[in-house]
Symmetry: C2
Subunit: 349 residues, 2 copies
């Protein structure tokens, strides 16, 4: 049995506008370190999974971008799936699992998003190894992150009973997947040890995953296995998430509590979790000068940014667009991107 990775690099990341764009989504940004997040993701697993076994799905319009980002990893050209159109996560995972399975029917696969921050790489790898070993028994395994706060921006997974730390495998039976809750509900989840943040990471054997598709969607399964024309296959696959299509429906899923410093950078404010602040709680990037600001983020480049007396303000300056946003309103950045999409305001999307 060999270990494989499917890296999902098709995201858009509108919440990091104006740094993230259609042409420059979150996975290509260096927000958590000096490296693009996609490069960090590959580097993290490269000591454990052979480069020949790393498969990457991204939109075809990012072909040049991703290949230049990942040049040094020497991933085989055939391991890239360039999606003709954005089709959420189920379609690329299904296609790549079939590809991997065709060459290695006993493959064990880890599905990894690349727009999350993982702070403790060694701990992460320990969990990944354990999960890939356990997955050989046929279960789909997902990492569950112990909630640190009543977060309303993440999905949750409920297990049937609190984890028993005395059990060798550490695996918990999944009861259900839960959409982003409201604050009141999130506060309850925080106190109840049966709730975990959904990490978006799944580990399974190619066999068991394909079996799930066959059980849940027999027509789709036939198409997936027998359609030789990629364009026709792609169009016939539903644009839905792996969570919705498979994970929320299968009984064959189990959760591994795995705390490795996971962060989904869901907004500019989340930058605070990966960058150190000055003594006034500010984060400055680029050419800047400040007088008496506090708890603010200034994200610029070569152009001088002078800030005076700001409190809880986020500034992101790029060549053709500037964002100045109260920290309480970072979720509204998406709305700016939506307005831009409507073509009302000129700036690159």
């Amino acid at each position: 049995m060999s270990n494989y990775a499917i890296i999902l690099a098709g995201g858009v990341g509108s919440r990091f506008w104006p740094l993230s764009r259609n042409t420059e989504p979150k996975q290509f940004l260096s927000v958590s370190s000096s490296k693009p997040m996609i490069a960090e993701t590959i580097e993290r697993i490269s000591s454990y999974i052979n480069k020949e076994n790393i498969f990457i799905a991204t939109n075809k319009k990012h072909k040049n971008k991703i290949q230049s980002c990942l040049k040094k990893f020497k991933i085989p050209q055939n391991n890239y799936l360039f999606e003709p159109t954005g089709r959420n996560t189920f379609a690329p995972i299904a296609v790549l699992t079939k590809t991997i399975s065709a060459n290695d029917p006993n493959a064990v696969i880890a599905v990894l998003p690349c727009d999350h921050v993982i702070k403790k790489n060694i701990v992460f790898l320990k969990f990944l190894k354990r999960a890939m070993d356990s997955a050989q028994a046929g279960k789909i395994i997902t990492f569950g992150i112990t909630p640190k706060r009543p977060e309303t921006g993440y999905g949750y997974i409920k297990v049937t009973r609190p984890p028993d730390h005395n059990r060798a495998t550490g695996l918990c039976k999944v009861e259900r997947f839960i959409e982003k809750p409201n604050l009141e509900t999130a506060k309850k989840y925080l106190l109840d040890k049966r709730f975990f943040w959904n990490s978006g990471i799944f580990i399974f054997t190619a066999k068991s995953f394909l079996l799930e598709i066959q059980k849940l969607y027999p027509g789709l399964y036939n198409k997936l296995i027998h359609e030789k024309n990629f364009s026709r296959l792609w169009l016939s696959l539903p644009a839905t998430s792996i969570d919705y299509a498979i994970m929320e429906k299968t009984k064959n899923i189990t959760l591994l509590p795995a705390d490795y410093g996971w962060l989904d950078l869901g907004s500019w404010q989340a930058i605070e979790e990966v960058h150190s602040k000055d003594k006034n709680g500010n984060i400055f990037k680029g050419h800047s000068i400040d007088l008496n600001s506090s708890n603010s983020i200034v994200w610029g480049g070569k152009k001088l940014i002078a800030t005076i007396g700001l409190k809880n303000i986020i500034i992101v300056d790029t060549e053709d667009a500037l964002l100045v946003c109260s920290k309480n309103n970072t979720q509204d950045v998406k709305r700016i991107v939506e307005l831009l999409k409507k073509g009302k305001f000129k700036a690159k999307l």
Copy 2:
């Protein structure tokens, strides 16, 4: 007797950084209307004072700039005084008064700053005419603005008794000039009808002004009258203000209360007094999009500025520098300019 104007256009205006620069001081900016303030100043008086009688003092480094700004007014080339070095207001006024007086010993001169906003041009001209007529009797006249608020950013002039509106001339005897007061003192001034804002406008006959110099500084007077070499003369003149050198010392000064919608745009916040706000109290200039901001000023150009949830924030975006400042801290913009002067941060001065 003919009427003359001396326009003081030598200011730096660091408080409007980053819009104002050494190369682009306040008088060349179009902050109050679509025209540069210097052009507004000339236009305002052009129906009353012949273009041959308008004299302009500015720093020699602004020679091209000012002549292109004022092209349409066809002011004679010899009417410009291009100062080799900045020397405050006394030196240019003394030199230009001597020049005017040499050709027209009976000249009546109005000294006009050009970095102030005057909202009521017709009312202003009415006061100017009255003052120029009254000045023929030999008194130096200054306009006093009735304080509208306890302003700590302006100088004040105290007269000996509250204005008597029944007197035909309206002139008040000046008791003393007062430096910018603290808030407590400014509040007292606001309630006492003997205090006026110092408008920086002075009207006098060339004769009486030169006489004042002769009385107060006989040595300097000799130099002014007899030194034929301009460079030597300029270097021998003190770098001091007309207020300090003459107006605060002479007994021959009288104040005309003159309310013509005067504003000294002393900071970005003052922009609010000349531009209308939207229903949330915001002012937007340039390409911008906003969600839920209030009482903020966004001063940009072609680049998109997206603002979200701001309160009392001022944003000024230029090509090589961006200012984001709390409204409570606009006086600190000067400090940024000082730091730039020290060469610590790269941006045009």
